[in-house]
C-alpha cells in the first residue's frame, strides 16, 4: 500500500494491526475496508485495552437473564417482568458540543434499551465537571458546559416521554479538560419477550429503519478513542446531532413491531453506525451478510460508501426480519412516517459483502473483525503520586472549628440540592415516580405491572478512586447498593461506566486494572453481578487525565411499591439512630478537599460483611414497619447527612454523639446509615440479631439543626441547601 504510514495514522491503526488485517483478508484491504477495520478496532468499539480486565467480572445470578455482551443487561423482577438497563458514556462529544453531545448520549442509551424489546421507564445521569465556582475563564467555561449538558439531556429525555428520575453530579479541577457525561436508561419488558442483536437464517432480509443517513458523526468512535490536544479542538463535525422526535417515533414503531413475530433480531446503530451494528449482528450468529449501500436512505446527494458505513447519524436501527415479513415490517415504520428499506440479506458466506450500485466494494470476514479484535496487555505501573498523597493528614493543617467547617461543607456545590438541574428534567411522566430527583439516596419507580418498585442509584466518589483506585471502585459499588437498600429495596445487579485517562500511560492503565479488581471483588462479595457496562478511556487533555471514575448504577427491587422508605425526616419527636461505626476516616474526604484543598490520606476500611448487614437491617426493619426514613452517610459524614435530611424535610433535629475526635462528625467511614425509628425496642432487637452496631443519637423536631457543637437555623440551612447551586451556576447570566 502506498503511503502506508500516513494511511495507518489516519485510521489510527498500528503496523501490527495492519499485518493482522493482511492475514485476515489474505490481500491488501481497500480504503473502505481499512476504514471499517479502523472503526471496529477503535478502543471505543473493540475494548482492546480493557478487555483483559473486564473478563472475569461476576455476571451470573439466578435473577440475571442477560449479562454483558448484548445491547443491555436484563434481570428478572418477578411476575414475568424483566428490567433491562445499561449506562454509557458520551464524554468526548459533550466536551466538544455540550448540548448535542449530551442529548445524543441520552438518545443512544435509550436505543440500547428499547432495541431489546423494553419500553424505557427511567433515565438517570452521572455528570462530572471541572471547577464551576470561581470567577475565571475556566469556571465560566465549565458553567457553560453544565448549562449545555443539562439542557441537552432534558430536551431529549423530555421529548421521549421517559422520566429522568435521578443522578449525581461532581465538580473537581481534574475534569477541567474532560467532562464526563454518563447516561443510564432502564426499561421494562416481559421476560420471555426479549429481543437480541442477531442476524441469522440464510436469505432473511436485512432492513434499515429510522432516520436517513447523513454525514454527521463521521468517525466518532475513532475520535472518542483519542485524547484531546491543542490541535484537535475543532472536532465539532464528529459530534452527532440529535432528533428526539424521530427517536420517539422509532420507539413507538419498534414497540409495535415487537408485538408481532416478524423479526429475528434488531440492533441500534450507535458508535460506528452501520458498520458495528451489521458486523456485531452477523458476528453473534456466525453468519455472513450482503448489504447494498446505495439502498440506504440518504439525507444528501453524493454520499460515498465509506460515509454510509461510518456515519453516526442518530435514530437508526438495523433489523434482521423473517423472510416474507419484510413488507409487514416496512408497513409499521411507514405508519410512523419513518424511513424503512430492505438493504440486504443474511448469507452463509461468513463474510460481509458490501455493494454499491451492483458492484462489490468490500468483502471482509465477519468473525475475525468482530470476535478476534486485538486484545492488548498494556504495561501497568503503580502511579508515583500515590505514596506522596497517602501521608496527607488533617493534622497537617491549621485546625478549623466544627461550626466553620460545617458552614463550608454544607455550602459545597457537591452537597447542596441540584433542583436547578433536575427541574429541567421531566421526572414524573409515565406516572410511576415515587422517589424523584432531590429525594436523597436512591430514585424509585413503581412497576404498574406487578405492584413492586425498582430502586436505582448512580454513585462514584472520584476522590476515593484517586487515592485508592481499587477500593475506591469497590466503595462505589457499596455506596450505590447502600442507597438502594435505604429505600427498602434489595440490591440486585449493577451496570458500570468506567471513565479513565489514557491507557497508553502505564499509571493510568494501572488505575483501570485496579478499578476492575475492586468492582469484581465488591460485586462478588455483595452478590450483585455486573450485567452491562461501558468503558471510556482517553479522558485526558494535554497529558492530564481525569480522576479514575468508575460510575456504578445499582438496581434493586422492593417487593411492595407501598413500602418505599423516604430519606428525609417524617415525624417530629421520632428518634434518630446511627447504624455502623465511625472512625477518624478522612482519606479523600470532602472535609479535606473543602477546608484544605487537599485530596489524599488513606481510604476508610472496606468490610463487605458489615455492608451486607447494614443493607439487611434496613430492608428487614422497613419490611416490618419499624422505620419512617433512612439515609446513608457518605461525603461530609454524619453532620452533612443529617443536615440534608433536615433541610429536605424542613424539620429540625438535635443530635449528640460521642466520638474519638470532635471533627469525626464529618468523617467518612463506610457502611453507615441514619434511620428514623418508629419502634425502638423492635429495631434494637433486630439490630442485635443482624449483628450490627446501632446507637440512638437524637430526636427530630424544633426550628434548628444541632449536631454536637454545630448548629444552624432551619431557615438558614434551607436557604443554603436550596438556593446555593442556582447562585453559582447563574452568576454570569
Amino acid at each position: 500500500m502506498k503511503n502506508l504510514e500516513e494511511v495507518l495514522k489516519k485510521n489510527k491503526l498500528t503496523v501490527d494491526e495492519y499485518n493482522n488485517i493482511l492475514t485476515i483478508m489474505g490481500r491488501e484491504p481497500n480504503a473502505l475496508e481499512m476504514s471499517i477495520f479502523s472503526s471496529m478496532w477503535s478502543e471505543h468499539c473493540s475494548y482492546k485495552s480493557s478487555k483483559k480486565y473486564l473478563n472475569g467480572f461476576p455476571t451470573k445470578a439466578p435473577w440475571v437473564i442477560q449479562g454483558p455482551g448484548e445491547n443491555a443487561g436484563v434481570i428478572d423482577i418477578g411476575d414475568g417482568m424483566a428490567a433491562v438497563f445499561k449506562m454509557e458514556s458520551h464524554n468526548h462529544p459533550s466536551f466538544i458540543e455540550p448540548y448535542q453531545g449530551a442529548a445524543t448520549g441520552v438518545g443512544g442509551i435509550l436505543r440500547d434499551v428499547f432495541t431489546m424489546g423494553a419500553r424505557p421507564v427511567a433515565n438517570m445521569n452521572s455528570l462530572r465537571f471541572g471547577n464551576i465556582t470561581n470567577n475565571d475563564k475556566i469556571s465560566k467555561h465549565q458553567r457553560y458546559l453544565v448549562r449545555g449538558v443539562v439542557a441537552g439531556i432534558g430536551d431529549y429525555g423530555n421529548c421521549m416521554g421517559v422520566p429522568t428520575i435521578g443522578g449525581e453530579t461532581f465538580f473537581d479541577e481534574s475534569y477541567n479538560g474532560n467532562i464526563l457525561v454518563n447516561a443510564f436508561t432502564l426499561g421494562l419488558a416481559k421476560s420471555d419477550e426479549i429481543f437480541y442483536g442477531k442476524a441469522e437464517g440464510i436469505g432473511n432480509p436485512v432492513v434499515y429503519v429510522g432516520s436517513k443517513t447523513g454525514r454527521d458523526g463521521l468517525g466518532g468512535a475513532v475520535m472518542a478513542s483519542d485524547s484531546f490536544t491543542e490541535e484537535n479542538k475543532s472536532l465539532r463535525p464528529t459530534v452527532q446531532v440529535g432528533d428526539p422526535f424521530a427517536e420517539k417515533l422509532l420507539l413507538e414503531a419498534c414497540l409495535e413491531l415487537f408485538k408481532q413475530d416478524y423479526i429475528v433480531g434488531i440492533q441500534d446503530m450507535g458508535a460506528a453506525g452501520l458498520t458495528s451494528s451489521s458486523f456485531e449482528m452477523a458476528g453473534r450468529s456466525g453468519s455472513g451478510m450482503i448489504m447494498h449501500l446505495d439502498r440506504v436512505p440518504a439525507r444528501e446527494e453524493g454520499m460515498e460508501p465509506f460515509e454510509f458505513m461510518l456515519s453516526e447519524s442518530q435514530e437508526r436501527m438495523l433489523i434482521c426480519a423473517k423472510k416474507g415479513y419484510e413488507h409487514k415490517v416496512l408497513e409499521i415504520f411507514h405508519k410512523w412516517d419513518l424511513d424503512a428499506e430492505v438493504i440486504g440479506e443474511v448469507t452463509n458466506s461468513g463474510n460481509m459483502e458490501l455493494f454499491w450500485h451492483g458492484k462489490r466494494v468490500a468483502d471482509i470476514p465477519v468473525q475475525p473483525i468482530s470476535e478476534a479484535a486485538p486484545i492488548y496487555d498494556r504495561p501497568v505501573r503503580e502511579p508515583a503520586y500515590l505514596k506522596k498523597i497517602a501521608v496527607i493528614n488533617c493534622d497537617d493543617f491549621e485546625s478549623v472549628t466544627n461550626q466553620d467547617a460545617f458552614i463550608k461543607l454544607v455550602s459545597s456545590v457537591e452537597v447542596v440540592d441540584k433542583a436547578w438541574i433536575y427541574e429541567q428534567y421531566d421526572s414524573m411522566v409515565q406516572t410511576n415516580t415515587i422517589k424523584a430527583p432531590g429525594s436523597l439516596d436512591a430514585s424509585v419507580i413503581r412497576v404498574k405491572q406487578n405492584g413492586k418498585a425498582l430502586a436505582m442509584s448512580s454513585d462514584c466518589n472520584p476522590r476515593y478512586n484517586y487515592i485508592d483506585p481499587k477500593n475506591g471502585a469497590a466503595a462505589a459499588v457499596m455506596e450505590s447498593g447502600r442507597n438502594v437498600a435505604m429505600s427498602g429495596a434489595r440490591p440486585l445487579a449493577i451496570t458500570d461506566c468506567l471513565n479513565y485517562g489514557n491507557p497508553e500511560n502505564p499509571e493510568i492503565m494501572w488505575q483501570f486494572a485496579q478499578g476492575c479488581y475492586g468492582i469484581k471483588e465488591a460485586c462478588a462479595a455483595l452478590h450483585t453481578p455486573v450485567v452491562s457496562g461501558n468503558v471510556s478511556l482517553y479522558n485526558e487533555t494535554n497529558g492530564v487525565g481525569v480522576f479514575p471514575t468508575p460510575a456504578i448504577v445499582m438496581v434493586g427491587l422492593n417487593e411492595d411499591a407501598n413500602k418505599v422508605l423516604p430519606s428525609a425526616f417524617v415525624n417530629d419527636g421520632a428518634s434518630i439512630y446511627l447504624v455502623g461505626e465511625t472512625k477518624s476516616d478522612f482519606g479523600g474526604s470532602l472535609y479535606m478537599k473543602e477546608l484544605f484543598d487537599a485530596v489524599g490520606g488513606k481510604l476508610a476500611c472496606i468490610d463487605y460483611a458489615k455492608e451486607l448487614k447494614l443493607w439487611n437491617l434496613v430492608i428487614e426493619a422497613n419490611r416490618a414497619g419499624l422505620l419512617s426514613s433512612a439515609k446513608d452517610v457518605n461525603v461530609g459524614g454524619i453532620a452533612i447527612a443529617l443536615a440534608k435530611m433536615s433541610a429536605k424535610s424542613g424539620k429540625g433535629v438535635t443530635c449528640k454523639l460521642s466520638l474519638d475526635n470532635t471533627r469525626d462528625i464529618f468523617a467518612e467511614s463506610f457502611s453507615r446509615a441514619l434511620v428514623e425509628v418508629r419502634d425502638e425496642n423492635d429495631f434494637e432487637t433486630l439490630a442485635k440479631e443482624v449483628g450490627i452496631k446501632v446507637e440512638k443519637i437524637g430526636t427530630i423536631g424544633g426550628k434548628s439543626f444541632t449536631c454536637n457543637d454545630v448548629s444552624m437555623d432551619i431557615e438558614q440551612l434551607q436557604d443554603i441547601y436550596f438556593n446555593r447551586f442556582m447562585q453559582v451556576i447563574e452568576q454570569d447570566l
Binding site: 423530555n158 416521554g161 432528533d243 422526535f245 420517539k248 429541567q424 421531566d426 411522566v429 406516572t431
Partner: protein
C-alpha cells in the same frame, strides 16, 4: 363514559391519561391522529401532553393539521367536552378553540415540579367538585407555559369566568413559575365546554406518587 385520547406523533402522556381515566371508571379509546373521525358515543375528548411533531416549530403548531382535528373541532363546536393538558392546551390555543397564546417560560428552562394551584372559578364542569380558593398540588412539566393574551382578551376572560386556576404557593399567595400573565394556569372557553391547563391532573391521582388532587378534576368531566 367513553373518552377519546388523541395520539399525535410525539405525544407522550396518552398512556398516563388513559390509566388515570380508567382508574376513575372511564372507557378510554386511544385515537391515532391519522383517523378522520372520532369513535361514536364519545363524551369527552382529551388532547394529552407531549411534544407533538417534536415541538420544533412552536409548541403544538403542527398538530392542528392532523386529520382527526377537523372532527375534534366539530365535536367542540357541537358542545362536546374537550380537555387539553399541557401540549393539548397549546393545541387548543393554536386551533383557536381557546383564546390567547403561549410563550417560552420566563426563565427559558423546561420546568418539572409539583406546583400549587388556586381554584378561581367552580361554575364549570371541570372544577365543579372543588370550592373557590381551594389550594391544589399538581405537577407541571413544560417549556412553553407562559400564557399571554391582550388586555381586552384578559378582561373578557375574567368577565366570563373563564380563568379557572392560578399558580400559587402552599399558602395561596401568587407564585408564578413560568411568567404566565396573571399567573394563569387554566382557562376555558366562553361556552365552558373546552378546557385547557398546563398542569397535569393525570399525574396527581394517587397519594403514592405525591398527590391525588387531580382526581376531582377528571371526575368532574367524567361524571
Amino acid at each position: 363514559m367513553k373518552v377519546a385520547v388523541i395520539v399525535f406523533p410525539g405525544t407522550n402522556c396518552e398512556m398516563d391519561t388513559k390509566y388515570a381515566c380508567e382508574k376513575l371508571g372511564a372507557n378510554v379509546s386511544l385515537v391515532f391522529h391519522k383517523e378522520d373521525k372520532l369513535p361514536s358515543d364519545i363524551r369527552l375528548v382529551i388532547l394529552p401532553g407531549g411534544f407533538s411533531y417534536g415541538d420544533y416549530l412552536r409548541s403544538a403548531a403542527i398538530a392542528k393539521f392532523s386529520p382527526i382535528m377537523q372532527d375534534v373541532i366539530r365535536f367542540a363546536n357541537e358542545g362536546g367536552n374537550v380537555l387539553g393538558i399541557c401540549n393539548g392546551f397549546q393545541m387548543l390555543l393554536e386551533m383557536q378553540l381557546l383564546p390567547g397564546a403561549m410563550k417560552r417560560n420566563a426563565n427559558v428552562h423546561f420546568i418539572s415540579k409539583f406546583h400549587h394551584l388556586k381554584v378561581i372559578n367552580t361554575a364549570n364542569k371541570f372544577l365543579h367538585l372543588f370550592k373557590e380558593n381551594d389550594i391544589l398540588n399538581i405537577p407541571i412539566a413544560h417549556g412553553e407555559g407562559n400564557y399571554f393574551i391582550d388586555e381586552a382578551g384578559l378582561r373578557d376572560l375574567y368577565a366570563n369566568d373563564q380563568v379557572l386556576l392560578q399558580y400559587v404557593d402552599a399558602q395561596g399567595r401568587i407564585s408564578n413559575p413560568n411568567g404566565s400573565l396573571d399567573s394563569i394556569a387554566c382557562i376555558c372557553n366562553k361556552e365552558r365546554n373546552v378546557f385547557g391547563l398546563m398542569p397535569h391532573p393525570e399525574r396527581a391521582i394517587e397519594e403514592l406518587l405525591g398527590s391525588s388532587d387531580g382526581v376531582d378534576m377528571l371526575r368532574g368531566l367524567l361524571a
